[in-house]
């Protein structure tokens, strides 16, 4: 089967992030592009975190999903630059995150040593939208999330870290 780049992208909509199954790799901004050159499909991806253990699975799922749809001999390229940022996540992705009980990331801030030291996050609860929340742990079940607690509805919840 000779597919077009649009068709490949549509097939890849079925590949989700194994750590956040509600989101596809396109929603996440992990999938950076598809090119067909000389009949070969080249898929470009970028990691969320340098040591993200999901990248191996994601590469495998891309190859498998395309193979299931009759596309073989796929080449996957991993790029680091420009570095992945949560700003690339679509509004749709952020909505899906909130729906699955994960507070979406807010805008990322500029880098400076003073900024890091004084930076405070403001994270509304994904369940009741209350602003009365507190950070319980900077690191949570995966590299990309932090653990918060909502004082209003008394629920713990995860936040997708701004990155």
């Amino acid at each position: 089967m000779v597919a077009t780049e649009e068709q490949i992208l549509r097939i890849l909509d079925n590949v989700s992030d194994p750590e956040i199954p509600a989101l596809s790799i396109a929603d996440m901004g992990i999938l950076r592009g598809v090119k067909i050159t000389g009949g070969q499909v080249v898929v470009t991806v970028t990691p969320t975190y340098s040591g993200c253990p999901a990248m191996y699975d994601i590469r495998k799922s891309i190859v498998q999903e395309l193979k299931d749809n009759g596309v073989e001999g796929v080449k996957i390229i991993t790029i680091l630059s420009p570095a992945w940022t949560t700003d690339w996540m679509t509004d749709e992705a952020k909505r899906k995150l909130k729906e699955s009980g994960i507070a979406p990331p807010t805008k990322t801030t500029e880098f400076s040593l003073d900024n890091i030291i004084n930076q405070k996050d403001f994270v509304p609860c994904p369940f009741c939208d209350s602003e009365n929340t507190e950070l319980r742990a900077k690191f949570s079940a995966t590299a990309c999330k932090a653990l918060y607690y909502c004082n209003a509805c008394e629920q713990p919840f995860e936040q997708f870290k701004c990155h």
């Binding site: 975190y49 680091l80 890091i116 742990a137 690191f139």
Partner: protein, 257 residues
Amino acid sequence: MTYTDELIEAIGEYLLRLADDRMILSHRLAELCGHGPILEEDIALTNISLDLLGQAKLYYEKVAEMSEGEVTADDWVYFRDEREYWNVLLVEQDNEDFAHTIVKQLFFDVFEMLLYGEMVNSKDNDLKAIAEKSIKETKYHLRHSHEWMLKLGGGTEESNRRLHDAVELLWMYTGELFYTDEVDEILVAAGIAPDTSKFRDEYYNTLNKILVESELDKMDPDAWMQSGGREGLHTEFMGHILATMQYLPRSMPDEKW
């Protein structure tokens, strides 16, 4: 830019230094898996370990790529002896207690933040890309270690004393972070590696600011400093780290799991 043989050799050395620092610190943090003081910290420290492992892998893979397939990233990690490891002594120091773990991490995080802040302007595209990627992670690590400095320093008499002891013990290993030799000189001149002397003052000012905030005394940047790691001369801890880390692949080479 054109890469002369001299430049390529210097980049290879430089990449291994960056990689070894992160690899050994990552291993130290991984030792805390299942031994963190509280569950949240167990997860935090191993998450930081994972980020550093990921960064180390990027550097090792670039050296492996430069060797045109002669050596792999795993060869560098598992089949080199103590005298062939170039990490700074700071990262191999024992975890001792939670205060030591945090102080060691803080000393490294502040340096890494400044280093990557400059390396994002490197003329080498791969180094630039790795720096752009890693600085975001470092920023988060620093927020974590800084927060714990404040908590431990302003906590109980006991937590403040332990933090104080850790700073006293580990301070002499900070000087080596600014070690430079001809490798650095060649790469700084070529605009590939940052000139660390440019941010030495900022490094120590930031640390002293954090120490004061943490209800500790300021430390002297010009105090006597211990070095040796960059020349392969390590402290007693290094052999033990390698024995644990390399045991499996050395007893079963080429085994996949």
